[in-house]
Every structure is written in C-alpha cells, then in structure tokens.
C-alpha cells in the first residue's frame, strides 16, 4: 500500500484569547501555541497501522511554514517514510479548494493507493479539503471515517454519521479517506524513531515545482473572498458567579441546593 497522509499545523486556541488583528482579515497569532491538527494525528497513526499490516510506504504532505517541520518529523518518527512540505505564501490557504489543488499536485506525480486526511482542521473547521482533494485526483472518497479495513483492491470503511450510528461503505482503491478523531490510539514517537526521522527525506517545494502556476492557487484566483473578521457578539444570559474559587464553589452549591436544581 502506498499511502499519503496530509497534515496541517494549527494553533491551539481552546484556551487562548483570539483577537482580530489590525488588518481585520487575520487574527493575532503571536501568543498561540501550535501543534499538529488533532484529526491529522489520528490520520498519521492510521496510515502507519495500514503500513504495518499490509506493507508499503507512508508519505507525509504538509502545506505550511517552516515551523511545521517539527510536526512532520514527528510523523516520520512514528513510521512515515518521507515528506513533502509546500512552503509558499502565495497559496490562498483560506480557500479549501486551493489547498486541495496544491496537495493534489504533489500526489498526482506518483502512484498511490490511499490518501488520508483529517476530517477537519481545528482552525478553519472547514471539513472540505479531503473530499475536494479526492475530486481533484479523480478518485473515490469517504468522509468521517472511523474504521478502515483494507481488502483486495478495496477498502471497507465505517463512516461516522450523526447520533452515534455509522454506515459501512466499500470503496475501490485508490481513494481518499478523511479520518475522524478517536479511530485509533495515536502512539508516542519512539526515541529511536525520532533519531531516524532526522535522516528521512523532507522535500520543501514551491508551487512551480509542482507544475502549478501562481494564478491557479493564489487569492486572486479564488472564487471566494474574505471580507473581514469580527468578534461574534457573545450573547450570554448567564449569571456570572464571582469571588475566589472556594467562594464560587460555595455560592454555586447553595444555588443548586436552595434553588431546587438538584
């Protein structure tokens, strides 16, 4: 099995203050900490599990800045064989269809059986790149995958649906699968793997190296345009409990008991 896995470096914004910057079109990311996107971490693990069970290779692809190399090396340490990073600020990363075009250009130049992406990037939450990528490559796909079984020339996958149910579908290879979190238990990179990863190939490319023209993937070429970002008005009717932590606990406990909420 020749598998590609697409990973993205994203900020962890769950605990940080997000503020729109002066341009009005971006956020101030100077205080964010970054990591591999959650779902992509599961996708990497799934790719490595598939390689371990069926043989073959795992190639890592990432479109992003140099800081992404830390995450790419981690994926290589876990069992990836080589990596390509597309480092090109001209790509309109706000448009999933442009990102998909770039990733497709890397994959198209080789033979492959499977492409795994995460089902969603935590920063833009678009849930679009994987399925768009499949169409760019002209192959089948399944989104929101939580179980993969490789068969002869096919994969049988479970797609997660709403409400805890899932559907089983059978797809002819080559195919793109978008991987849902929780599909496996991502491993920690072994020390030995981390050392070996430093020696594995990591190619850094520009769009021209992929046979793409700037006017196919830049902002001007997009059919959508970000007008402005703004902070949503948080309409909260919540009663805010004030005080030191212990006081808050006491006030809340009293409200729950005396207010008949329990």
């Amino acid at each position: 099995m020749k598998t590609f896995v697409c990973i993205k470096r994203v900020p962890d914004t769950s605990e940080s203050v997000v503020k729109v910057d002066a341009s009005g079109k971006d956020v101030d990311s100077s205080k964010f900490s970054f990591d591999i996107n959650d779902a992509d971490n599961y996708a990497v693990e799934e790719a490595v599990l598939i390689k371990e069970a069926n043989g073959g290779t795992v190639q890592v692809i990432c479109a992003g800045p140099q800081d992404s190399d830390v995450m790419i090396r981690m994926a290589l340490a876990k069992g990836g064989d080589s990596a390509v990073r597309i480092d090109d600020p001209r790509i309109n990363s706000l448009d999933p269809l442009k990102v998909a075009k770039v990733l497709a250009a890397v994959i198209k130049s080789e033979e492959f059986d499977l492409v795994l992406t995460g089902c969603m990037a935590a920063d833009d939450g678009g849930m679009a790149v994987g399925v768009a990528l499949a169409e760019e490559l002209g192959v089948s796909h399944a989104a929101m995958v939580k179980k993969v079984q490789v068969e002869d020339g096919k994969v049988r996958v479970q797609r997660e649906l709403e409400g805890g149910i899932s559907e089983v579908v059978e797809i002819t290879l080559p195919a793109v699968l978008t991987i849902q979190t929780g599909i496996n238990e991502p491993r920690y990179a072994p020390i030995k793997g981390i050392r070996q990863a430093q020696k594995k190939e990591l190619k850094v490319l520009k769009i021209e190296d992929l046979g793409l023209d700037e006017n196919e993937v830049n902002e001007a070429s997009s059919l959508i345009e970000l007008q402005n970002l703004y902070m949503p008005e948080v309409v909260s009717n919540a009663e805010v409990i004030e005080g030191e932590p212990e006081e808050k606990a006491e006030i809340m406990a009293t409200k729950l008991v005396k207010g008949g909420l329990l």
């Binding site: 914004t13 769950s14 605990e15 997000v18 956020v27 999933p96 269809l97 998909a100 089902c119 833009d124 939450g125 678009g126 849930m127 679009a128 994987g130 399925v131 768009a132 169409e135 089948s140 399944a142 929101m144 049988r156 479970q158 997660e160 649906l161 709403e162 409400g163 805890g164 149910i165 899932s166 559907e167 089983v168 579908v169 797809i171 979190t181 929780g182 238990e185 059919l223 959508i224 345009e225 970000l226 007008q227 402005n228 703004y230 902070m231 948080v234 909260s236 919540a238 009663e239 409990i241 932590p245 212990e246 606990a249 006491e250 809340m252 406990a253 009293t254 008991v257 909420l261 329990l262």
Partner: protein, 324 residues
C-alpha cells in the same frame, strides 16, 4: 434572481432537521433577494417527505428511484450536477452534516462553483448572498463574498435557527433519475447502530459533563465524587470519549447523544457547536471553564470562570454538606 436550491437530507426513513432549518433560512433570504425556493429530494419511496417539503418550498424536485435507497455521495453528485447545469440556480444549500461534507466539496470542484463551507448565516449584499462563517471553534466570525458567477454553493451548519411554520404550497415535480445504473466504486453496505451502554444518558435528569480541560484520566476521580454527591450520571465531550476517559455512549453532541436533563454541569468543555447541539436543550446549564471567551458560556445559566481543579472539589464538599 435565480432559484435557491436546498438539498433535502434524510436517513433511515427520517427527514433530518437540517432540511427544514435550511428552508427556513432560504425563505428569509428569498424575501430579500427574490428567487424561488426549490427543494431537491433524492430518495426511494419518500413521498411523504415530498409533501411535507412542499409546505416550505415553491417547488420540490423529486427523484424517486431504488438507486437512491441509501445515500451515496457519488450518486447524489451526478444528479446534482445535472440539475444545477439545467436550472442554474443562484444558490445551492447543502447541510454541513456528515452527509453534506461528504458531497459538497467534490461538487464544488467538479462544477468550479464558488464554495463556502460551514456557513452559520447568510446576508444579502451587493446583489448576492453573502455567507458568514466561524473560525477557531466559534471565537471569530468571518464575512465572505462570492466572486464570479452563480451558482454559489454553501454547506449550512445545523441547529443555528428555529424552524418556521410551513407557509407555502409548492408543487411536487417528479423527475426521472439522471443516473441510470449503480456505481461500482462506492457501495453502501449497512448501518451500524450506536453502542448501547450501561446508562442511557438521554434519560438522565442530572448530568456531569467533562471535557479536555480535565487533562488526564486519573482526574476523573473528582468528577466521580461530584456525580455521586448530586446523584448524577457522567457524560462528556468528544475529546473526553476519544481519550478513553469515558465510554463512547456517554458522548454528548452531534455525533453522540442529544440530552435534555434538568441540570447539566459542563466542566472544562469549550462548547464547540457539535457539543452545544447535543445539550443546549438542558433546563439549567452550569459551565465551569477558565477561559472567559469559551463558547459554552453562550448557553450557560450559571458561569464560573475559573480553574476547575480549584472549584470542583470544593463544590462537591459543599454540596455534600448542604445535602447532609
């Protein structure tokens, strides 16, 4: 103005809520920009849906064929390409659901449509629909503009609005399936039902919900203590079930359960829309989170902005004391 197309979503004989939500939004939009509301219904023996949808549409385009007994993105795509090419609607709305995200991006690529995903609202400006979407799990919103020619394509987020009463009496137009035979590269096999666990949290009156903020499995002890003190059941966000702290049947949200307890205490949960959709119907919601901007507070009745590790043990202790 061209039509607004809404793709009806249904599964296992049930019309999904997102369909009427989109139709409600479509009707608000069509008041401003004009254009007929056309619901596209693709299925097999779903006449009753067609009738119901007519109440919200100017027209229901209905493909009824055994080929569509179960959803298949590739087959849907073939039908939609045909219909969209024929009618050139202004806007095409597909649910931002596990079905819609499996379909819309490929449709956008194939037809080269201007495409925005996970839309939470639609304005009408400069003679065009203008999508609003959110970034960083709800912390920032973005106004987008479509460039180029219609049709424009969006996926629309679930549970963003109340469904309106039916006010139309559209005509139902059955059309022949543009697709004539099975596709062999993607086959539906079967549904796998949700796991059934020891406790059915949809029936619980008191729920203690935990999220990634709890950090480690061993910290579940303080949650269990609290649950015991209030005789509640424990549930959690997807982050908590993915991490294995809880069984999957305890997950609350779009891909888990929808719960309606009397009391829901959310601890270290940010409040992603997939989570909110499953719990905002709770009667009273208490949220404990150290981030004052956490979206969970938008649905909370009581907000405690603080470190859960400082608050929870004390809360449990005080509750025990008060309740004897």
């Amino acid at each position: 103005m061209g039509a607004i197309y809404v793709l009806a979503e249904h599964r296992q004989g049930v019309l999904r809520d997102i369909t009427l939500e989109m139709l409600t939004k479509a009707s608000q939009l069509s008041e401003k920009m004009g254009g007929e509301i056309v619901t596209v219904l693709i299925g097999s023996s779903v006449d009753s849906f067609a009738e119901k949808l007519a109440g919200y549409s100017d027209k229901v385009l209905y493909v009824d064929d055994p080929l569509f007994a179960d959803y298949n993105s590739d087959k849907y795509q073939k039908v939609l390409v045909e219909l969209i090419n024929q009618d050139k609607p202004e806007l095409v709305m597909i649910g931002h659901t596990t079905q819609g995200v499996d379909l819309a991006p490929a449709l956008a690529v194939e037809m080269k449509l201007p495409f925005v995903t996970d839309v939470i609202d639609l304005e009408f400006a400069d003679g065009k629909p203008q999508p609003v979407r959110s970034y960083y799990s709800g912390k920032v919103n973005a106004n987008f503009a479509f460039k180029g020619e219609a049709p424009y394509l969006i996926t629309f987020r679930e549970s963003t609005l109340e469904v309106a009463e039916p006010s139309k009496q559209g005509k139902v137009e059955k059309i022949e399936s543009p697709l004539k035979e099975e596709l062999d590269y993607r086959r539906f096999i079967e549904y796998v039902e949700a796991e059934v666990g020891d406790v059915d949290i949809t029936q619980s009156e008191i729920l203690i919900a935990v999220g990634r903020g709890l950090r480690e499995e061993k910290n579940m002890a303080i949650i269990e203590d609290l649950a015991k003190a209030v005789k509640g059941d424990i549930c959690g966000s997807r982050a908590a079930t993915d991490a294995g702290w809880l069984a999957h049947d305890r997950q609350v949200g779009t891909s888990g359960k929808t719960v309606k307890p009397k009391l829901y205490i959310a601890i270290g949960i940010s409040g992603a829309f997939q989570h909110l959709a499953g719990m905002k119907g709770a009667k009273t919601i208490v949220a404990i989170n150290k981030d004052p901007d956490a979206p969970i507070f938008s649905v909370a009745d009581f907000a405690i902005v603080d470190d859960l590790f400082k608050v929870i043990p004390k809360l449990t202790e005080k509750l025990k004391e008060l309740r004897g």
